[in-house]
Structure formats: structure tokens, C-alpha cells
């Protein structure tokens, strides 16, 4: 009489055990993987996009080669003088991230990687970049140049 009972209980018990085992394995894998994945992604750096003062060295480069690239936190800014006016744009091309340069002769901002061209306000003129370069505000205060991100 006991045999049929055992038969009907066994598969159910087994499937419950399998279920527990499965949950256990998934939980174990997640508890191993999560810290590793989290570890791999570095912390963001502080101070990105804050106001920035150009150093004396950067100012001399600006005077000499018509433009200079400065770093603000994790962002790179290109500062150049065009038509007596000081301008600043994000230096990272919106296409594949090369660093752009200012071409005084053609008065445009140029990315050499895939021939992307921007006007002095960062709008795309030609080439593959999909978006304009973000604008920064550059102000002269006495002998200093202060850069701040333009509010969108």
C-alpha cells in the first residue's frame, strides 16, 4: 500500500528540490558576478564641467598657436581667438571622439580623424559628426581666462 504513495510524492519532492537548487545556483552566480561587474566600472571623477581658469602656460600656447586645449575634469575644452573674440567649445568630436583643432586660416574647427568640420559656434558644417560641439563661455578677467559651461 505504501508504494503508490511514495511514487506520487517523489517526483514532486524532486522538482521542489530542483527548484531550490536552481534558485541557489542563480543566487550564487549573481552574488559573485555583481561585485565583479561593479568593480570593473570605475568611479566618476569629481569636478567635471566646473569653471576653469587657464594656466599661464596655456595662455602662452593660446597666444602662440591660436588655440589651446584645456582639461576640465573629464572634459576637454578648446579655446581659440577668432575675430578678436575669445571662444571655447568642447574639444571632443561628436563623431568618434577625436580631439578637434582650430584652423585660423579657414576660421573653422576641424577634426582630422574623418574630416569633420564645425563652425566657430560648434555647428556641424561638413563630414560625419552627428551633433554640434557643446559651447563654453570664455571670459577675460584681467590677465586670466575663465571658462564655464554654457547652460543649455
Amino acid at each position: 500500500m505504501t508504494a503508490p504513495v511514495a511514487h506520487s510524492v517523489k517526483p514532486a519532492r524532486r522538482s521542489i528540490l530542483n527548484w531550490f537548487l536552481g534558485v541557489g545556483v542563480v543566487g550564487w552566480a549573481a552574488s559573485v558576478l555583481y561585485p565583479v561587474l561593479r568593480y570593473l566600472r570605475p568611479l566618476g571623477e569629481a569636478g567635471a564641467g566646473g569653471p576653469l581658469k587657464l594656466s599661464a602656460e596655456e595662455l602662452t600656447t593660446l597666444g602662440k598657436s591660436h588655440f589651446v586645449i584645456a582639461r576640465s575634469g573629464t572634459r576637454k575644452v578648446i579655446v581659440f581667438e577668432a575675430g578678436g573674440e575669445l571662444r571655447a567649445l568642447d574639444a571632443k568630436c561628436t563623431h568618434e571622439g577625436c580631439t578637434v583643432q582650430f584652423v585660423p586660416g579657414d576660421s573653422l574647427v576641424w577634426c582630422a580623424c574623418h574630416n569633420g568640420k564645425f563652425d566657430l559656434d560648434g555647428r556641424v558644417l561638413a563630414g560625419p559628426p552627428p551633433r554640434p560641439l557643446a559651447k563654453w563661455v570664455a571670459i577675460r578677467e584681467g590677465n586670466d581666462v575663465i571658462l564655464t559651461m554654457e547652460k543649455a
Binding site: 570605475p42 566618476g44 586645449i69 576637454k76 578648446i78 571632443k92 563623431h95 580631439t99 560625419p128
Partner: protein, 468 residues
């Protein structure tokens, strides 16, 4: 006296053999080796040696790589300096570095030729689908090796090439940004990126490579090398692997070594073709603008050029995203060829896939030539004119493709050429007539699809003709 000593020595060897056999069953292995044969096909035997040469160059990479590690120090102030020290001060340091660079290029070259010959000879067909897939994975790993190793000297060229190369990762849906930061060790390429690439290049990839190569080789041992297709196979016995094939293999490896040594000696810094040079140049400085002529290594050039051909926006995607989607789809098709090619898996001739390989070669050759700016007269500091480059590259591709088509037609009686014809149509429309690259591509796609549709209606006729 002499004879006795000989006898003792022989019996020592004999005893060792028996000792091992009792424990590991060595006799079975020897028996297996004795019967191992390499099929003699209707095609040239050359193609059977390319896997071996790839393995040879990989071994050279392991040895020269470990030697470079004795002096190389990753770090902001040391990476570039230590490589310069290796090439200028360390005795024969230039030699070791040059061997590592040359052998890397030769390994990829040999791997690519191996892959295309496998494709054209249909060696991937049932039951060898997984051998093809592991081979494809090995190809991907080799590209990973090239890409990660490129950054390690921390010079200007490497810096920008890596910035552009890793940037494309951000277009992966959902996890793109996460992946980008994990690869770079931050939002931008910095020395943290170099640390990660270093770990990848010297630990992770070698381990994975050795594991996958072993799998690839086990598959080949279990199944044997693929014979030619039934309709082109002569009734000849195979070549014995031991010692006939192995000795030829060794001889070829010796030739490879001599070629490598000659190249290293004559051109220690590479042939100077963009994507194939390793002059150290200037140290990387993240705050200098990119300059014209920043190019990845030659085997990435077709992707690099494709990125350039795409407009800023396409079908609601940003250009690079669309371009990489296309590359991913093409690569996926390539990896799944053994399952797509149903005729070859039944042992029937499948001219479409032969033609697909030729079309792939035409497609990549045109893009690569363009990336080299062949025919575009560049003024210093300016970029070469893309129109005249396209014109010159199209004519070169056209010439070579026609020669190949003629050879296929006359020597191999291959008639099915819709894919390669379509690829060539795109080249001509874009290069010769100046049509937009993508529009030309769309036209070519229409031709290719039409070709498949029209000829698959007549499929039975093909079947009747082929088997002899």
C-alpha cells in the same frame, strides 16, 4: 661492446614506452597517429598548411611577448620610455620588438587566408560546423590582440586610434556606455585604459586563445581534415600525417622563420604602409589635437573606411551606430555560414557561397584601398581628395576583380557570380560614377537579391549538371 650499449639504450627506450603505455595507454595514441591521414584533394594542398603557419606565428608571439615583458613597464611615465629603451638600448631589443610586430601581422595574414580558403573550399560543411565557429572565435581573439597591443607603446598614433576604436562601443544598445567605461577604465582614454589593455593583452587573451586553439585542434584530430567536395575529389589515397605531412609542415615553418627574419632585418619598423608600421613617434598627449593620417592597423581599415562613408544620421540612428550594425550583421552571417549553406552540408556544389567569399574580398579590398588614400594627392597637413581616391581605387579593384572572374570562369568553370558582381557594381557606381557609397550599396543589394531569387528557381538544373 658498442652493440651491447646500443641494445641497452634501445631497451631503456622500450621500457620507458612500456611503462608509459601501462599507465596512460600510449599505444592507442601511436596507433591513431600511424593511421592519421591528410586527404589529397583536387585542389592545391597549400591550403592545408595555413592553420599550421598561423599556429607557428602565434608561438613566436608567445615567446617574443614574454621577452618584451622583461623590460616593458606599463605606466604614464614608463610605457613609452620603456619601449624606447628596448628599441634603442637593450641589446637586440629592436630585434625582439620587431619580431613581435612582424609576426603579429603575419599571423593575422595567415589566419585571414586560412579562413577564406576554408570558406571557398567549403571545409566548414557538416560535420565541421563547430571547427568553423571556433576558427571564427580565434579570428576575433586575434583582432583583440592586435587592438589591445597597439595601445601599449603609449604613443600619439596608438592613443588616437584607440580613442576612435573604443568610442564605437558606445553605440551598443543598452550596455554601450557601461561597456565603454569598463574598457577604458573611465569615460576617456587615459593611462587606466592602458592598464586594462595590458591585462587583456598579456593574460586574458593568451589564456582564452590557448583554450580555443586546443578545442579547434581537438576537433580537427577527431574529425580529420576536410576532404575536397565529392564532385572534385580524385580517387587517391591520403597523405600520411606522420611523418610525411608533419615534415612538410616543419619545413614550411622553417621557411616562415626565414621570411620573418628577413623582414625583421630589412624593415625593422614595418613596411611604412599606414596600418603596418610601428615607428614609435611622439609620446601620447591627450591635450593635443588629432592629426590627419591616424589609422588603425590594416585589418581594421575597411571598418574605419566604412565609418567614414556613413552620413551623420541614417534611419533614426547616428552614422557610426548604423555602420557598426552593418558590420555586426555581416560578421554574424560569416560566423553562421556552415548552417546557411545547406547545399554544401548535403555534399552538393554550392557556388553561391564561393561567390560570397569573393564578394567579401572585393567589398573589403575597395574600402581598404580607399582607406590607404591611394590616388588621392595629399598636400602636407591637408586631407587627400576623396573623389580622386575613390576613382583610382575603383579602377584598381575593377581590374583585379575582372582578372579573378576570368580565372574562375576559365580554370574552374564557375558561373554563379551575382554576389561578386553586385559588390563590383557598388565599387563602380561609387568610384567611377561618383554615386553615394550607400546608394551604390543599396543598388548592389538589389542585384544580389535578384540574382538569388532568379537562380534559385532554376536550382534543379544546377544539381543535374554538377555531380559527375
Amino acid at each position: 661492446m658498442e652493440a651491447r650499449r646500443e641494445e641497452v639504450r634501445a631497451s631503456v627506450g622500450e621500457r620507458l614506452y612500456r611503462w608509459l603505455d601501462a599507465r596512460f595507454g600510449v599505444a592507442r595514441l601511436v596507433e591513431f597517429a600511424r593511421h592519421k591521414e591528410v586527404p589529397v584533394g583536387g585542389h592545391s594542398m597549400v591550403w592545408y598548411y595555413l592553420g599550421g603557419t598561423t599556429l607557428f606565428f602565434f608561438t613566436v608571439q608567445l615567446v617574443s611577448g614574454v621577452l618584451l615583458l622583461m623590460y616593458y613597464q606599463p605606466g604614464e611615465a614608463t610605457s613609452y620610455e620603456s619601449i624606447r629603451y628596448i628599441t634603442t638600448k637593450v641589446p637586440f631589443g629592436w630585434l625582439i620588438r620587431s619580431v613581435h610586430c612582424w609576426s603579429a601581422h603575419l599571423m593575422i595574414l595567415s589566419l585571414v587566408v586560412h579562413m577564406f580558403s576554408t570558406m571557398i573550399l567549403k571545409a566548414y560543411r557538416k560535420p565541421r560546423e563547430l571547427t568553423w565557429v571556433t576558427g571564427f572565435v580565434l579570428f576575433a581573439i586575434a583582432l583583440g590582440f592586435g587592438f589591445s597591443g597597439y595601445l601599449l607603446p603609449w604613443n600619439e598614433l596608438a592613443f588616437f586610434a584607440t580613442a576612435v576604436g573604443t568610442d564605437s562601443v558606445k553605440s551598443v544598445p543598452v550596455v554601450g556606455q557601461w561597456l565603454l567605461e569598463v574598457m577604458r577604465g573611465g569615460p576617456d582614454v587615459t593611462i587606466n585604459t592602458l592598464y586594462r589593455f595590458f591585462a587583456l593583452h598579456i593574460v586574458i587573451l593568451p589564456l582564452v586563445m590557448v583554450a580555443v586553439v586546443s578545442t579547434h585542434l581537438v576537433f580537427i584530430q577527431v574529425q580529420g581534415m576536410a576532404a575536397g567536395m565529392a564532385h572534385q575529389r580524385p580517387d587517391r589515397p591520403g597523405l600520411r600525417f606522420f611523418p610525411d605531412f608533419l615534415l612538410r609542415d616543419l619545413l614550411l615553418w622553417l621557411v616562415c622563420l626565414i621570411v620573418l627574419a628577413t623582414l625583421v632585418y630589412l624593415l625593422p619598423y614595418g613596411p611604412g604602409i599606414p596600418g603596418m608600421e610601428w615607428e614609435l613617434g611622439k609620446k601620447a598627449n591627450p591635450l593635443t589635437p588629432a592629426y590627419p593620417g591616424i589609422k588603425p592597423e590594416w585589418y581594421f581599415l575597411w571598418v574605419y573606411q566604412l565609418l567614414k562613408e556613413f552620413p551623420p544620421h541614417l534611419a533614426g540612428m547616428e552614422g557610426p551606430q548604423a555602420a557598426l550594425l552593418i558590420v555586426t550583421v555581416l560578421m554574424g552571417i560569416w560566423a553562421l555560414v556552415p548552417w546557411l549553406d545547406r547545399r554544401a552540408s548535403k555534399g552538393q556544389p554550392s557556388p553561391k557561397f564561393t561567390d560570397l567569399a569573393i564578394a567579401a574580398i572585393i567589398f573589403m579590398a575597395y574600402l581598404t584601398l580607399k582607406a590607404w588614400d591611394i590616388g588621392g594627392h595629399a598636400l602636407p597637413g591637408k586631407l587627400p581628395d576623396p573623389r580622386s581616391t575613390a576613382w583610382a581605387c575603383a579602377w584598381i579593384t575593377l581590374g583585379i576583380s575582372c582578372a579573378i572572374a576570368l580565372l574562375r570562369l576559365l580554370a574552374y568553370r564557375q558561373r554563379w557570380m551575382y554576389f561578386s558582381g553586385a559588390a563590383l557594381l557598388q565599387v563602380v557606381l561609387n568610384g567611377v560614377f561618383g554615386l553615394d557609397y550607400l546608394l551604390a550599396g543599396a543598388a548592389a543589394l538589389v542585384v544580389a537579391i535578384a540574382g538569388v531569387v532568379v537562380t534559385s528557381r532554376k536550382e534543379p538544373a544546377v544539381q543535374l549538371r554538377a555531380p559527375k
